[in-house]
């Protein structure tokens, strides 16, 4: 059990290193979820319109269209007076949008012509564009009502203008938006695991070599297997700690944001997040072994940082790829570490059922990968170049 002595020493040693602690406890579990999840969810809020929410709309010359004002009021829009200089106030953002009722409006309505309305909007301002979308949607409804009234007045069945009746039947359980949010979870888990073990793996291998402390260590009466195993378990502890903290922070983060906007497609409740963590857990030893092996392969801390920095691209690759391509979960993809966890975790968050075979393949493939990597690490430690 000598490896445990190595493990304990590495943990104590690295708990005294601010850099390791920052990346393990803050960067992966707190900063990345906040930056990425926060901005993503904020943009969802931006694009989704809540028609039940009461808001104000500035209308110039509202007295020219009393029925429209009444319609808007019934649809949760309170009409207020427009400022004198409409364009300037929309441009400066004092008013998000202003609806202007033209002088000809009521006369045109009465004469059966198209009644002119002007919607002043600042498209460069996201809030203004969002407000305009809400009003346009409402005006469209009002327009259709007026259209059918006009037709009925002239004895025409309004249905005559509906030559096509297109019914869209969306069979996907998840919408595109849900997919993006769902792939965020595996990304955050994998990222936090890598960041959690990143500096410890470098410090305990390349760092130890650079400090010249590896040479006396390896001349002690203990086997290389104990050394490798000890350092591996220490890395595993940090990787797991970072991942567990991420579970907590993701849970808290998604309490703050409107998951109901996803219409129940995406779930970020406690049981789902915990289940996702369990599905991702074979990655803990895999990523620890990967970090250690790469760090053992390099000759200096700087080189290790470069290689492990490149490793960061790996958790991002499926995240971005899956945005553009729909990759079906197959037996082959389930045997691949990281990719399989991406697919499993997405399914978990989207509430899809997961075949037991897929889970089994993912576990076996990932743990098998970890064992191979550990074997490689031990080989590297047994070579003479480890101290040269």
């Amino acid at each position: 059990m000598k490896f445990l002595i190595v493990t304990v020493k590495e943990i104590v040693d690295n708990f005294r290193d601010r850099q390791t602690l920052f990346y393990a406890l803050l960067f992966g579990p707190v900063l990345v979820p906040l930056l990425l999840g926060g901005s993503l969810i904020a943009s969802f809020k931006q694009f989704s319109i809540d028609f039940d929410q009461v808001s104000e709309l500035a209308i110039a010359h509202s007295e020219r269209a009393p029925n429209l004002v009444k319609f808007l009021y019934q649809n949760n829009i309170d009409v207020i007076d427009a400022p004198v200089n409409i364009e300037l106030s929309v441009h400066s953002g004092d008013e998000l949008i202003v609806l202007e009722i033209d002088e000809d409006y009521s006369i045109a309505l009465r004469e059966g012509r198209a009644a002119p309305l002007t919607l002043h909007v600042n498209d460069a301002n996201k809030d203004s564009a969002k407000a305009a979308r809400r009003i346009s949607t409402l005006l469209d409804v009002y327009k259709r009502t007026l259209d059918s009234l006009r037709m009925q007045h002239r004895g025409i069945d309004p249905a005559i203008f509906n030559s096509l009746d297109v019914v869209e039947n969306d069979v996907s359980v998840d919408g595109a938006n849900g997919q993006l949010l769902a792939s965020l979870l595996p990304f955050l888990y994998i990222m936090s695991m890598i960041m959690g073990g990143f500096y410890l793996a470098i410090d305990t291998t390349a760092g130890e070599r650079e400090r010249f402390s590896l040479e006396p260590l390896l001349s002690l009466p203990l086997s290389r297997r104990d050394v490798v195993l000890g350092k591996f378990v220490a890395t595993l502890c940090f990787v797991s700690l970072s991942a567990l903290l991420t579970v907590v922070s993701i849970y808290l983060l998604f309490r703050l944001f409107p998951v109901e906007l996803m219409r129940g497609q995406v779930r970020f409740d406690g049981p789902t997040i915990s289940r996702a963590f369990l599905l991702a857990s074979p990655l803990l030893p895999f990523i620890s072994a990967l970090l250690m092996t790469i760090a053992a392969f390099t000759r200096s801390v700087k080189e290790a940082q470069t290689y492990l920095g490149l490793l960061m691209v790996i958790p991002m690759a499926p995240f971005f790829l899956l945005q553009f391509f729909t990759l079906r979960a197959t037996v082959a993809s389930m045997a691949l570490p990281m990719l399989s966890q991406y697919q499993l975790l997405e399914s978990a968050v989207l509430g899809k059922s997961i075949p037991t075979l897929h889970i089994a393949l993912s576990v076996v493939g990932t743990l098998g990968g970890a064992i191979i990597l550990l074997w490689v690490a031990q080989r590297l430690y047994s070579q003479e170049r480890i101290i040269s």
């Binding site: 000598k2 020493k9 005294r16 010249f212 001349s219 009466p221």
Partner: protein, 261 residues
């Protein structure tokens, strides 16, 4: 007790092509270091001192030749050698975020001492090497002398019979060097076998009972200080050394020295 017989070690040059001959760092190293004696391995930089010590410490395997430490073969019985041997490489290599005490205790535990024994042994070494002032301070910012003491304590923690020190006085001031010499002398008097590598003549002549001169990967002369002076016909070690490294290497001793394996 160290017995080395015709050790040879080559390294592949950095960026070497396939099939390129390795560069010989050590081509023929044979010597004996007896218990209760301080043996100096004297040679210029790049002569093969560190490579020889690394082979004896089982960190690298010799390409040919053999050696034993207290009867344990350096290739066949690696763990046996390490149990008998305390090795202090040429950089102290202590952990800066651990205290001196924690550094030593870590090695004690790795060498198989129980938690209690380790605590007691670390206490003894702190006493023996006079480390009270800084025993519980973190090693960041330690002076070279303090670092060397910690590294020496680590090498001694499992009470090895044989001690190998690779240029231990590097970077030490006069007082620290004197202190270290006394400690080494005491250890030899207590019956330990001490192998001490250095490129500093005064160091070796002041301390060593027996001197092996190494040049370009070969032991060119091995004898007591007086023996070396007599053989070279010089009056001080520096002149003797210059003359010795200009000589033909002495042939490896007959195979009987290899009998301890």
């Amino acid at each position: 007790m160290i017995n080395a017989y015709d050790l040879q070690k080559g390294f592949q040059r950095e960026g070497a092509k396939r099939g390129e001959e390795p560069v010989l760092a050590v081509s023929s190293v044979s010597f004996t270091a007896a218990d209760g004696r301080i043996t100096g391995l004297l040679g210029p930089n790049g002569a093969g001192k560190s490579t020889s010590l690394r082979m004896l410490a089982t960190l690298i395997r010799p390409d040919s030749g053999s050696a034993s430490i207290d009867g344990h073969d350096i290739v066949g019985d690696v763990l046996g050698v390490r149990q008998q041997l305390g090795f202090m490489p040429h950089n102290a290599g202590i952990y800066p975020r651990l205290t001196a005490r924690e550094n030593i205790r870590y090695y004690a535990r790795l060498c198989g001492l129980s938690a209690n024994d380790a605590k007691q042994r670390v206490g003894e070494l702190i006493e023996q090497l006079g480390m009270h002032d800084f025993a519980d301070r973190r090693a960041t910012g330690f002076s070279q002398g303090q670092k060397t003491k910690v590294a020496l304590a680590r090498a001694l923690v499992h009470r090895p019979q044989t001690l190998m020190l690779d240029e231990p006085t590097n970077g030490l001031d006069v007082m620290a060097t004197r202190g270290l010499r006394e400690i080494i002398r005491d250890l030899a008097n207590a019956g330990h076998c001490i192998l001490f590598s250095s490129h500093i003549m005064q160091e070796v002549s002041a301390l060593c009972d027996h001197i092996a001169i190494i040049s370009e990967g070969q032991i060119v002369m091995a004898d007591s200080l007086e023996g070396i002076l007599t053989k070279t016909g010089e009056t001080d070690l520096e002149d003797a050394f210059v003359r010795a490294i200009g000589l033909e290497p002495c042939p490896p001793p007959i195979a009987s020295t290899n009998g301890t394996q």
